[in-house]
Symmetry: C2
Subunit: 145 residues, 2 copies
């Protein structure tokens, strides 16, 4: 199974420790296409060509069997990818960490076609990932064209 | 002409003064559907139902003749709307204010199908808006079905 993990990079406060934990957990279910995108330093990442990043990420998104988006931090790219995943009918799970004085994006939370887990305990988010991915794996996503 | 203005609300640091200036300028070209969305206090805005916001905004986006998105601040909703506008073939202009030590979203800046103006002077952004909207107005967008 190919999994596209989407999370803030240049946007609001990416939670790198949590993203790494999440990616490790996702790797137990299949190949995380975007894994390396979250391992670069800010300077390294900024040195990449934007068109190259865009083309690569869109290609990965197209070939993904499932998409997990971490939407706790604001990010234009993540919002864009959520819309593309929805457009292309990809199984999609949004994860939002409850934060005092903040609310999730209305455009994502208010869209009944999207599934958003609001969590406080990271373990609950990981369990939601398992429940989300297991039926996709069983349906044989990895052998789909 | 109906114009959809998209900008950060719950996302990263919305620049309210600049948004108001931009909306006033857009109003000289047509009806800004989302005008009121940028006039609420944070508490007022947070009191709205997310599904209501989503349904209303998607309906406005569908009927818009042109979309102007301010993408200087990270925002999931703005990223989502940019993707929808692209999907629906809406004329779309992105405005990004140059900021020291920051870069625009790679997913937006790297997408050659999108037109992004990077500005330092607000007057230059307003001129780009004029150049973007004038041909749409001339083509009779306001009388389109």
């Amino acid at each position: 199974m190919k999994i596209y993990f989407s999370g803030s990079i240049r946007g609001g406060d990416p939670d790198r420790g949590w993203f790494q934990r999440l990616i490790r957990h996702l790797s137990g279910h299949g190949k995380v296409l975007t894994e390396n995108s979250f391992g670069y330093s800010t300077d390294e990442e900024a040195s990449f060509d934007d068109a190259w990043i865009y083309e690569r990420d869109v290609e990965w998104l197209r070939e993904a069997d499932a998409v997990v988006a971490e939407v706790s931090a604001p990010s234009l790219g993540v919002g864009y990818e959520v819309a593309k995943a929805e457009q292309w009918g990809k199984p999609l799970l949004l994860l939002y960490r409850e934060q005092p004085g903040r609310k999730p994006s209305a455009m994502l939370n208010g869209n009944k076609a999207l599934e958003m887990l609001v969590f406080t305990e990271e373990d609950d988010a990981l369990k939601a990932v398992d429940s989300f991915l297991s039926p996709i794996k069983l349906s044989g996503a990895s052998t789909a064209p």
